[in-house]
């Protein structure tokens, strides 16, 4: 005689009916999985949201700065100077917001002073670093002046004897105003102070330095050229500009320069997510495990309670696999229900938290779909042992137990 069989539709409806006949117990059983999945979803969601948020705050500084230097490599090759029109070459690139060049000026043993006195103790003379900068540097370092102005192309072309003071240098030299055109001396040479910096976001060595136009440095000290090019790029253009800038500066051999590019947005986000995730995913995993044990436990209890039903089904022609399938599907369905409820709660937590913090909730699209799947796998694994137990019951024994 042809073996008995069971249609999928019947298997599903029998399993659902089995769960629906004890709704309260089913819900309580599912609770463990709900908590596990909710913890996982909200963890991943909060990590993604926070990762996105942190990118937002770091963007302004980190992600928009590209620095090219001509420091000689460890192998000892001679440094290749930047061309004097570096600024013009780079500002043309799409994605560059501002460019400035910077280099230190070798003033020998000359000290900087504000008043020229014959003081053998040299109490009015200070060793302050002297830097040469291009007109665009202030914007490129996102700097701000406390007073006066930054030099422009005119000063550069005329090689005027002017300087800008960093705030540290200004306080050392006791210069707090520029409206009366104070003068500082580097060695014996006088320079008019035309501005004092309040702050810079990049290249902090500017804060303690005396800064002059590059042409001025070239005229007095034989300044060879900038050693650093600071580029302010628009958000997301970091990788592209980091690639293009050396080529624009030295088309023959772009590899002579070293480029510091911003951490790519993706890698930064991954790092942040990774740190938040690892802890909470363990937490969510543990609660999911507890949920699975709960499902296994209740399914096993349910098998023991329904021994009579199992015997009855065997008498109707159910094979062992049909019995196993029914209980397996019941536990899997509990897992799916837990996954759906858990994912819903998790998403609500992410959205709620974002609303309170006025963040933009960010959630990868695979999460709301993956969570029920994870729940299903949990339920499936949890159901294996109870199902095998149910299937192994002998019909005679099962019928004898009554009900």
């Amino acid at each position: 005689m042809k073996p008995t069989s069971m249609q999928w539709r019947d298997l599903v409806s029998e399993s659902v009916a089995g769960l629906a006949s004890r709704p309260l117990r089913t819900l309580l059983t599912v609770l463990g999985t709900v908590l596990g999945i909710a913890a996982l979803v909200s963890t991943v969601g909060i990590a993604q949201t926070a990762g996105n948020r942190i990118i937002g705050t770091f963007d302004a500084l980190q992600a928009t700065s590209v620095v090219v230097t001509n420091e000689s490599s460890w192998s000892g090759d001679a440094a290749v100077a930047f061309p004097s029109d570096s600024e013009d070459r780079l500002i043309r690139l799409n994605g560059v917001e501002a460019v400035g060049t910077l280099g230190s000026v070798n003033v020998g043993s000359d000290l900087v002073s504000a008043v020229k006195l014959d003081d053998p103790l040299g109490r009015y003379e200070f060793q302050i670093s002297v830097l040469a900068a291009s007109p665009g540097l202030l914007d490129a370092v996102k700097g701000e002046l406390r007073m006066g102005r930054w030099f422009d192309v005119g000063h550069e072309e005329r090689a005027d004897d002017v300087v800008i003071l960093g705030p540290g240098a200004a306080s050392q030299l006791n210069i707090f105003r520029v409206d009366q055109q104070p003068v500082v001396f580097i060695g014996d040479k006088p320079f008019v102070v035309m501005g004092i910096i309040r702050d810079v976001d990049r290249q902090p060595q500017l804060l303690d330095a005396v800064i002059m136009p590059e042409a001025t440095a070239r005229k007095h000290y034989g300044y060879a050229g900038a050693t650093t090019v600071q580029i302010d790029v628009s958000l997301g253009a970091g990788d592209l500009i980091a690639e293009q800038a050396p080529v624009a500066l030295n088309p023959n051999d772009p590899t002579v320069y070293r480029v510091q590019k911003p951490p790519s947005v993706d890698s930064l986000r991954n790092r942040v997510e990774g740190e938040i995730n690892s802890l909470f995913i363990i937490l969510g995993g543990v609660s999911l495990l507890v949920g699975a044990i709960g499902i296994a436990n209740v399914t096993l209890v349910s098998v023991l309670e329904r021994v009579g039903e199992i015997g009855l089904r065997r008498a109707f022609g159910a094979r062992r696999r049909h019995i196993a399938g029914q209980f397996l599907l019941e536990s899997t369905t509990m897992g799916i229900i837990g996954g759906i409820i858990g994912a819903t709660i998790g998403i609500l937590v992410v959205v709620g938290l974002s609303a309170i913090r006025q963040w933009t909730p960010v959630l990868a699209p695979w999460i709301p779909f993956g969570a029920p799947l994870l729940g299903a796998v949990t339920g499936l694994l949890a159901g294996v042992f109870p199902s095998l137990r149910a299937a192994s019951l002998e019909p005679v024994e099962a019928l004898r137990s009554g009900t």
Partner: protein
């Protein structure tokens, strides 16, 4: 004997047809520790189509073991069991399950209904594994419930039925697949005498419609409803009291 008058009045005797089941030399022993305990010894029994046979015996006589073997729920240790002409004593589990599901209907002392499911669902469940289409299942279940007089209870949950109604549902469930054999295990054991009579009346009408029935009971007065009585004592068949 009052319940048998109807049968006698009809004057119907089963024609000697092909046997539904034929046991020869069936024995079943159980292992208790290291010792073998015989539950059934050397049983020979033939039930022909349309026959209503009762097996009577005190508790511990092996009635249940015999029922389990007849219902292919258990295997005999020795002997031959022909079910509808086919040897089933040494069949594999899947084939035994298939015969059980398609050809045998069970009625139990404790009803074995699923209390959370409706009357209709309890009856259609008997056809769950035998490839009967859903709408056909409902159709047949309604007919079977009609036959036991429960049409008005179809959507009731089984838990809200009286004992007699439950056993009627169980009978409807046993006959819904059109089995060649209905096995009843103390079907009135949990019922009062009035309800018992009505249940026995249903079996009588099943018998009249040609259904082969084997009923197991410890109560001789209930066994008297059957065409033929078989006594079981200490695992052996006693004289067959044909009426």
């Amino acid at each position: 004997m009052a319940g048998t008058t109807l049968l006698q009045a009809t004057g119907l005797r089963p024609a000697p047809l092909s046997p539904v089941l034929h046991l020869s030399g069936i024995g079943r022993t159980f292992l208790s520790g290291d010792t073998e305990v015989p539950a059934l010894t050397d049983i020979d029994l033939t039930v022909t189509r349309g026959e209503y046979v009762s097996v009577v015996g005190p508790s511990g006589s092996g009635k249940s073991t015999l029922l389990h073997i007849l219902g292919l729920l258990d295997r005999p240790t020795t002997g031959s069991y022909l079910f509808e002409g086919n040897e089933v004593a040494d069949l594999d589990e899947a084939s035994r399950t298939a015969i059980r599901g398609r050809r045998i209907g069970f009625v139990f002392q404790s009803f074995h209904l699923l209390s959370h499911r409706t009357v209709l669902e309890n009856v259609t469940m008997a056809m769950l594994y035998t490839e009967v289409k859903r709408d056909v299942r409902v159709e047949r279940a309604r007919a079977a419930l009609d036959a036991v007089g429960l049409t008005h209870r179809i959507e009731f949950p089984a838990s809200r039925l009286s004992g007699g109604e439950r056993q009627r549902v169980a009978i409807a469930r046993a006959i819904v697949s059109g089995p060649s054999l209905v096995l009843a295990d103390e079907p009135t054991g949990n019922l009062d005498s009035v309800t018992s009579e009505s249940i026995l009346g249903i079996f009588d009408s099943l018998r009249r419609s040609g259904q082969t029935i084997v009923m197991i009971t410890h109560d001789a007065s209930i066994a008297a409803h059957a065409d033929r009585r078989v006594s079981l004592k200490d695992g052996r068949l006693q004289l067959e009291a044909a009426r």
